[in-house]
Symmetry: D2
Subunit: 92 residues, 4 copies
């Protein structure tokens, strides 16, 4: 069973929040609000998508590849922990 | 009248396509499809958001600040053209 | 006279710091330090490059296109201020 | 032996190219060249840093965590292959 299934609820919540942000831009355009607002809303969506990707990649590593908190192979566990750490700093 | 109003149709189309991509991830999660698919779908959304931001920023420059194709101030027009060019290469 | 000339000192300082960071990776590789370090150093350079680009773009807007703090055209000044704001949030 | 050691030569070459690009910006500033050039050079460095990160992360996965081309665990190998693929599309 994939982590996206096990953690479906949490990830779905993030995805729905992003959908809500996209729908908010549709409304802002329909209501002809200032493009300063639209620009900031797009920037916020990109941030949310990066957050979603970071979470799904971390879960993917832990669930499908190596879970640093449980793997008996010390080197491999450290390698996975280092990867998760750099994904967080690089995708933020 | 803001460029987001004048070009509403075109921008709204991009935004709706992004909404469609987000909804596709909701379905992929609901249908418990492989997270390899979900990972690629998220990457595609980030690309689409970057594309949307690039277009809205370019329109914002042309409509609200300086349109390189019509501005009589040569230096200012070249400055705006250089900015549009680097936005395209940096946000892709 | 271009902003990169007028503000050369400040920008050059940033660029030299980035060169220092790149040279630090060369040393880390030569000294065969852990790749966890190298990964974080690369992430730090990408952050510094984004910071450099944000500063040069803002200066480019103020110097070559429209300075929101001095331009007599209110709409154009607000448009430039909105653009500078979204560049800061999007490129960070 | 870490992949950064084993593949030192190749990674060092990439890092030195990036250093060369940074030094080129120092020269462009010293020679007071147009900021259009400087903007594009910064964008090129950010692209090169993303390329470097992608290569070091892929090597990190293959060398320290799971090499999809040799690992006997089919699920884990596929998980690693999917991760490498999304890193390439997300960091480009």
């Amino acid at each position: 069973m994939s982590h996206t299934i096990e953690k479906k609820g949490k990830i779905l919540q993030r995805v729905r929040r992003i959908r809500g942000q996209v729908e908010a831009i549709e409304r802002a355009l329909a209501e002809e609000r200032s493009c300063g607002d639209v620009l900031q809303q797009i920037a916020a969506i990109r941030g949310a998508v990066n957050g979603l990707m970071t979470e799904v990649i971390e879960d993917h590593i832990r669930f499908h590849i190596v879970d640093p908190s449980t793997d008996s192979d010390v080197d491999r566990a450290r390698g996975a922990a280092e990867l998760i750490e750099v994904i967080h700093s690089y995708l933020k």
